[in-house]
Symmetry: C2
Subunit: 297 residues, 2 copies
């Protein structure tokens, strides 16, 4: 299945970088963009990321082989609903959102079933910058893209989206929707929730001034993700609420065990927990180091 | 009160850096070290950080004007007990441990009262490296040292310890013992407990392999402190248990509120919490940036 036209819905960092990577790495088809803010689309055209754009959704997706929903997480479900009456069943629809379960549900409702040509995906890549101006051709190089096909997914559609991401330099892996949402809840959504919670709790305490004044490097690293965009993370918390609630409960149960160990001065169990954690964290750090070494080669 | 001889008990990164800073920045008295591992002491002598050392505590502290307890947190209380029968009331005793309340209690027990010449202190500085070889003359430059005098503290002893730290380039601040332990519990001890808890909880889950495989930069920063030395942090958890339990409860209450908001899809309150947190975190980051800019000037 040769892709000749890709339409990207919303041209920000993620969509813009996809376009730039494809253009830079030999995609010879046409890239069209749609969005609500003409300034971003015009900028994308000026930067040579896209071939043309339209503010009209129907016009933008006309003749597209692939539609990439690259809007923020919560709007992505709406976009899929808007697309349902506009597309035929030959068009492949994919996306880049951080949560997959809510989109699968939205698609089932909008299409009456899971469309065979729907291939939900999630590139694990980002930047502290945002907007189409920040688009990078190598944003996805050696980064993982998780695709979450279902039993209904057309293997040729899956293959086409896999090939698209591999062209950007990404490593594509597949997993079920529920597993994706659980893994991301544990490694990304829960840490954000915990960091926001800690900073909010301290900021509300009467000693706030002193507390932050004496915080140091460990606190800075630990709370860095609490400086993330609140709207985006509120959307993710809502979109992946079930999996996040599960990981909050897993975490709270563990915290409660450790709290008891501290209260009863149970040196042995505190030590055991900290030691297990350090060992797992050190292994993870080595793995990540190896990955980023591979990425820079 | 002119200090002519300082004895440092245990020569690791913290004690070694204090010695090096004093030697480099014009302290013209004698620096003696005591410790259990002769190799560290001999290395300190070789590096020119100290003038001499002894493995015998009585010999090491003979004639000292100031004794700096620079052992790990949990041993510090023992050291103070060991010192009690050996020192006269003219000698100033200070320390560098992360928790102050347990040392004050130990001192009361060992001396029968809070000694007037006891000036407990805590330099907020460190390094991922440890050992006397890692000692740095500028470790304390523009870092805060918290001194925690009591009503019984001799103002001249306080002044002498303040002058000693100011000579290293540190900014000395004073606060009550309980406040120190609460502020440190909130900004340092609790984050360590949370990071250890998260990694331990995930490492124990059946999906461990996948979970860590898909974790990215945010997770790396958030869990960096879970790679800290488990023994040191077990000791701190025990030494500051009351304040840590209080902050765990404050945190858990806040997490429980946020959990409810996620469960009931209370978009407004999730957004409010994340927004307050981001605002406080951004302010803190600016403050820390300014500090480290000052430090590098």
């Amino acid at each position: 299945m040769k892709i000749q036209r890709i339409t990207i819905l919303a041209l920000g960092l993620i969509g813009g970088s996809l376009a730039k990577a494809l253009k830079t790495r030999g995609f010879d088809g046409e890239i069209v963009a749609w969005g609500r803010r003409e300034a971003s689309l015009a900028k994308g055209l000026e930067l040579g990321l896209i071939d043309r754009y339209s503010l009209d959704l129907t016009e933008a997706i006309a003749g597209a082989d692939v539609i990439v929903v690259a809007t923020p997480t919560l709007i992505a479900a709406d976009m899929i609903k808007q697309l349902a009456p506009l597309v035929n069943d030959q068009v492949i629809i994919t996306d880049v959102a951080s949560v997959k379960g809510n989109l699968l549900t939205a698609a089932k409702q909008a299409f009456g079933k899971v469309p065979a040509n729907l291939v939900l995906g999630h590139p694990i890549a980002g930047s502290e910058k945002s907007g189409v101006e920040a688009a990078k051709a190598d944003l996805y190089v050696n980064h993982r893209v998780i695709l979450t096909p279902t039993d209904e997914t057309n293997p040729r559609a899956l293959q086409a989206i896999k090939a698209m991401w591999e062209l950007t330099g990404a490593e594509v892996v597949e997993m079920p929707v529920a597993e994706h949402d659980e893994v991301l809840a544990a490694t990304s959504h829960l840490p954000h929730v915990l960091a926001y919670t800690l900073v909010d709790a301290l900021a509300g305490s009467p000693e706030q001034q002193n507390i932050f004044r004496f915080a140091a490097g460990g606190f800075r690293d630990f709370t860095r993700i609490a400086s993330s965009d609140p709207t985006m993370w509120k959307d993710i918390a809502l979109a992946n609420s079930d999996a996040i609630l599960k990981t909050i409960d897993l975490f709270s149960a563990q915290l409660s065990i450790l709290r008891s160990a501290i209260e009863t001065k149970d040196s042995e169990n505190i030590m055991a927990s900290f030691t297990r954690a350090k060992s797992a964290r050190d292994k993870f750090a080595l793995m990540l180091e190896k990955q980023s070494k591979d990425a820079s080669e």
